[in-house]
C-alpha cells in the first residue's frame, strides 16, 4: 500500500484514486463498456430498431416464427428470426431491453431513496423508532424477494407501475439496512457532533451530513440490487405476473418462446435471454469491482 502511494505522482484526488483502482480489473472495464452499450441501445432503440414492434400494422402473420436470417416479403432480413406474431426479434429485443432497464433502474432509484432515508433516520434517531424499523427489515429480509413480489403482484395485477411497486417493496429493506449500519458508524464521529453543536436541524444533519458519508456502501448494494430487480422482473413476467403483453419486456419475450421451444424453434426464447444475461452480467461485473474498490475492509 505505502509503496503504491509513494509511487503515485503528487497528491491523488479521491476520484482519481477511485478511477485508477477501478481500472485495475480488465473484467470490470469490459463490464463497464458492455453496460454503456446496453444503456445506449435501450435509449436509442426507436432509432436503431429495424421495425417498430408496437406498430401492429407493420406485422405480417405470414412471417410468424421464421428462423434467423429469413427474408421478409418487403426484403427486410430478420437477423434473429421472428416470433409468433411475425415480429422481428431483433427489434423486439431492443425495445424489450428498454422496458427491462427502465423497470429495474426506476425501482432501484425509488427503493434506494426510500431505504436510505429510512435507514439513516433510524440510525440518527435511535431508540424505539430504530428498533421497530430494524425489526420490520429483519422480518422482511427473512423472506425471499420472489415470494413477496409474487404475492404482491397476485393482489395488484399486471402493469409497469405495479411491478415497480412490488420491486420497491422487496428492495427497500436492503438499502435501509445498509444505510443504517453505515450511518451508525458515522453518527458517533466528531463532525456529526460538531453539526449538532452548531444547532443544525435533524433533517439537515441526516440529508447533508450523514447520507453522503453512508453513500459508498449504498452504491455497491444499489448495483447488485438493480441487477436483481431486472432478473426478478423478467422472472415474474415470464410467470405471467409482471408486465402486460402490450409492454413486452425481455422476460415476456422469453415466455412467448417457451411454448415452441420443444419443437426446436429456439430463437424466440434464446436471444432475448442472451440480451438479459449480457445486461445483468455487465452490471454485476461493474458492481463486483465497485465493492472491492469501495470496501475499506480489504486492505489494498
Amino acid at each position: 500500500m505505502s509503496a503504491i502511494v509513494a509511487a503515485a505522482p503528487a497528491v491523488e484526488t479521491p476520484w482519481q484514486r477511485f478511477r485508477r483502482q477501478f481500472a485495475e480489473s480488465r473484467l470490470a472495464l469490459l463490464g463497464l463498456a458492455l453496460l454503456v452499450v446496453v444503456i445506449a441501445i435501450a435509449l436509442f432503440a426507436p432509432w436503431i430498431a429495424p421495425q417498430n414492434p408496437y406498430d401492429l400494422a407493420k406485422l405480417d402473420l405470414l412471417d410468424a416464427r421464421l428462423p434467423p436470417g429469413a427474408q421478409a416479403a418487403d426484403g427486410m432480413t430478420y437477423w434473429l428470426g421472428t416470433d409468433g406474431q411475425g415480429r422481428d426479434m431483433l427489434s423486439a429485443i431492443l425495445y424489450g431491453l428498454r422496458v427491462s432497464l427502465y423497470v429495474g433502474v426506476a425501482s432501484g432509484v425509488i427503493a434506494l431513496t426510500l431505504g436510505a432515508v429510512i435507514g439513516v433516520l433510524a440510525a440518527y434517531l435511535g431508540g424505539r423508532f430504530e428498533q421497530i424499523i430494524m425489526r420490520i427489515v429483519d422480518i422482511q429480509l427473512g423472506f425471499p424477494a420472489i415470494l413477496v413480489a409474487l404475492i404482491l403482484l397476485a393482489v395488484l395485477g399486471k402493469g409497469v407501475d405495479k411491478i415497480i411497486i412490488a420491486l420497491v417493496t422487496v428492495q427497500w429493506a436492503y438499502y435501509a439496512r445498509t444505510a443504517r449500519s453505515a450511518a451508525v458508524v458515522e453518527r458517533s464521529k466528531e463532525y456529526i457532533e460538531a453539526a449538532r453543536a452548531l444547532g443544525l436541524s435533524a433533517w439537515r444533519i441526516v440529508l447533508r451530513h450523514l447520507l453522503p458519508n453512508a453513500l459508498p456502501p449504498l452504491i455497491v448494494v444499489g448495483t447488485v440490487q438493480v441487477a436483481h430487480a431486472i432478473a426478478l422482473e423478467a422472472t415474474l413476467s415470464f410467470l405471467g405476473l409482471g408486465l402486460p403483453p402490450t409492454e413486452p419486456s425481455l422476460g415476456l419475450l422469453i415466455a412467448n418462446g417457451y411454448e415452441v421451444l420443444m419443437s426446436g424453434k429456439y430463437w424466440i426464447s434464446v436471444y432475448p435471454g442472451v440480451a438479459l444475461l449480457v445486461t445483468i452480467l455487465a452490471i454485476n461485473l461493474v458492481g463486483d469491482q465497485l465493492r472491492d474498490v469501495l470496501n475499506p475492509r480489504l486492505s489494498r
Partner: protein
C-alpha cells in the same frame, strides 16, 4: 435459551397473523372466483348458489374470522378448485418440492465449498480466476432462462434427460419420493441443476471471501507456526471458522430454494407446491394461496430459528440472548 425460543414462537404467531390479514384482505379485492369456477353458461341463480356454497356472500371480516377459527383447529379452508382441504392439497405436493430443494442444495454445497476453498487458497491461479468468472456468470444467469436452455440442450437436442414431470415415486419412510430410483433421478436432475446453479455461485463466492478474510488472521498464522500440516490447518482450523457463516447462508438459502422452486417447477412441470400456487393464483383459488403462504411462512420461521440455534452450537461466542430474538 428457553426464553429465546419462546419469544421467537410468539413472534412467529404475530407474523403469521399479519401475513394472513394482508393476504386475505388483498386476495379478496381481486377478481371473482365464481366467474372462473362456474360453467360460463350458468345463470345468475346458479352463480349465487356457488357464491353461497363457497361462503363468498359474507362480508370480508366474517370470512376472515371464519378462516381464523378454522386455522386454530388446523383447518385452513377448502380449495375452491379441488373441493378438498387446502392443507391436504399442499401437503400432497410438498414432498416433490422438498426433494427437489434438497437435491439442489446438495449439489450446490458439494460442488461449491471445495471450489470456493480452492479459489480462496490460490486466488491468483488461472483455475481460481476461471471459477470466479464462472460464479459471476452463474450469478447473472436468470434461473428461468437457464431452465429453458437446459431443456433445449439436454432434452430437445441431445435427448439425454426428460424435461417435464416427475419420475416414478417410491415409498421412503412414508413419503412418496422419486430421487431414490435411477429413473426418478433422471427426471429430477435437470430441475435440480437449474435450481442449484444460483446457490452454487453464492456458496463459491462466500467460501472464497471467508477463506481470504480468515487466512490473514493470527490463529491461522499461529497454527502454521506450530508446524501443523497444511491439511490440518485448512481442514480443522480454517474450515471450522468459515463454517459459521456458511451454515447460516446454506440454512437461509434452503428457504429461498423452496420459494424459487415456483419458477423451476413451472418450467419443468414438476408437480410440487410451487407449481400449485402459481396455478392457484391464476384460478383465483384463494384458500390454497393463503394456505400455501401460511405453510411457507411457517417453514421459513422454523428454518431461521434452527439456523440461529445451530449458530450458537457452532460458535460458542454467540449467546442467544444477545441475538435479536
Amino acid at each position: 435459551m428457553t426464553v429465546f425460543v419462546l419469544r421467537r414462537l410468539a413472534q412467529t404467531l404475530l407474523v403469521l397473523l399479519i401475513t394472513s390479514v394482508l393476504v386475505f384482505g388483498g386476495l379478496f379485492l381481486i377478481g371473482d372466483p365464481v366467474e372462473i369456477l362456474v360453467n360460463p353458461s350458468a345463470d345468475q341463480i346458479e352463480k349465487e348458489r356457488a357464491t353461497k356454497a363457497l361462503g363468498l356472500d359474507k362480508p370480508l371480516h366474517e370470512q376472515y374470522f371464519g378462516f381464523l377459527r378454522g386455522a386454530l383447529t388446523g383447518n385452513l379452508g377448502n380449495s375452491f378448485v379441488y373441493a378438498r382441504p387446502a392443507l391436504e392439497v399442499i401437503f400432497e405436493r410438498m414432498p416433490a418440492t422438498l426433494e427437489l430443494a434438497f437435491l439442489a442444495m446438495v449439489i450446490a454445497v458439494v460442488l461449491g465449498i471445495p471450489l470456493g476453498l480452492y479459489a480462496g487458497l490460490r486466488p491468483h491461479s488461472v483455475l481460481s480466476k476461471t471459477i470466479m468468472a464462472g460464479s459471476i456468470l452463474g450469478f447473472s444467469l436468470p434461473t428461468f432462462w437457464v431452465g429453458l436452455i437446459l431443456i433445449l440442450i439436454f432434452a430437445v437436442t441431445l435427448g439425454w434427460l426428460p424435461s417435464t414431470g416427475r419420475g416414478p415415486t417410491t415409498d421412503v419412510l412414508g413419503l412418496q419420493l422419486s430421487i431414490f430410483t435411477w429413473e426418478g433421478l433422471r427426471y429430477a436432475l435437470l430441475p435440480a441443476i437449474n435450481l442449484a446453479l444460483f446457490k452454487l455461485s453464492l456458496i463459491i463466492r462466500l467460501t472464497r471471501a471467508q477463506v481470504r478474510e480468515q487466512s490473514l488472521l493470527d490463529y491461522i498464522k499461529f497454527a502454521r507456526a506450530k508446524g501443523l500440516t497444511n491439511a490440518r490447518v485448512i481442514g480443522v482450523h480454517l474450515l471450522k471458522n468459515i463454517m459459521i457463516p456458511l451454515v447460516t447462508v446454506v440454512g437461509l438459502e434452503l428457504g429461498s430454494v423452496i420459494a424459487f422452486a415456483v419458477v423451476t417447477e413451472t418450467i419443468f412441470a414438476w408437480p410440487g407446491m410451487g407449481k400449485l400456487v402459481i396455478d392457484s393464483i391464476f384460478q383465483l383459488d384463494r384458500p390454497v394461496v393463503v394456505a400455501y403462504l401460511m405453510v411457507v411462512v411457517f417453514m421459513f420461521i422454523v428454518i431461521n430459528l434452527v439456523v440461529d440455534l445451530l449458530y450458537s452450537v457452532l460458535d460458542p461466542r454467540v449467546r442467544l440472548s444477545e441475538v435479536k430474538g
